[in-house]
Amino acid sequence: MLIGESLAVSAVLFSIGVAGVLVRRNAIVVFMCVELMLNAVNLSFVALSQLHGMSGQIMVFFVMTVAAAEAAVGLAIILAIYRHTQSVDLKSINLLKG
């Protein structure tokens, strides 16, 4: 059933996603790292659904829908920011900085 192994792989992928979010400056790459973290969590849902029934797979279904909605709105926000600052560098997004 490979449950422990899947949870470990999921943990490693999630941590890679966290590192990417904290280390990169390109807003779109940061966004892709968030998608990677969502995917890692999906893996643990699917692994545990072998034991606990189909609810885990249905949760994955909802996570995917929310991720798609988030990608659409988030990329629209990045487009709007790009029009303002001509850049997607997170360093240049400092309007709220005192």
Binding site: L2, I3, G4, N26, V29, L51, G53, I58
Partner: protein
């Protein structure tokens, strides 16, 4: 090591390698392509974990639709090689530190087997996992008679009908939000 385990580790190594390349590439397009590769590897893992329908929608929705949206925006903004794509060094220390800490905490989950989960949930000494978690076994058996899509569809349209409808409203809100945000003048 049997064949399933070997194939599992092959797909795991593929996913982790692609994810590492995804966060280290300078070019945003290269990052996106490596993320697509990681998602294909995850779809392979889902098949090994008896979730064939989820694997199919992983390829269609994630690798197909969401990543095309990402590539479309990267190309629309004409982002090529960026001169300095990294945060400063103290972000590196913090980022890699948090990631390593999180990984060591979470990798402890490697020790979880069905037997150990059953031990923690049940009060009996060394119970049979199949008796403690009857749902998983029952629904895997149901999958053989109803098909892998039927097994997911039945609870989705019975027990989870209201969340399912709320999801459709969420998608409508996301469409309207994206149009409002991205349009220059309404």
């Amino acid at each position: 090591m049997d064949l399933v385990t070997a194939v599992f580790w092959f797909f795991s190594a593929w996913a982790i390698g692609s994810a590492l390349l995804c966060i280290t590439r300078r070019n945003a397009i290269a990052s996106a392509m490596w993320l697509v590769s990681a998602m294909f590897a995850l779809a392979g893992l889902f098949v090994l974990l008896q979730a064939q329908f989820i694997a199919a929608i992983q390829v269609i929705v994630y690798a197909g639709a969401v990543m095309v949206l990402f590539l479309f925006v990267i190309m629309l903004l004409n982002l090529g090689e960026t001169p300095r794509g990294w945060q400063r060094w103290y972000f590196w220390v913090g980022g890699v530190g948090v990631a390593v800490l999180l990984a060591t905490q979470l990798v402890v989950l490697r020790g979880y087997s069905p037997q150990r989960l059953a031990d923690e949930v049940s009060e009996m000494p060394s119970p049979d996992p199949a008796l403690v978690f009857p749902e998983g076994r029952a629904e895997l058996a149901a999958g053989e008679s109803q098909g892998v899509v039927g097994v997911v569809a039945r609870p989705l349209f019975e027990a989870y009908l209201v969340p399912f409808e709320i999801t459709s409203v969420l998608l409508l809100v996301a469409i309207i939000g994206a149009v409002v945000l991205a349009k220059r003048r309404l």
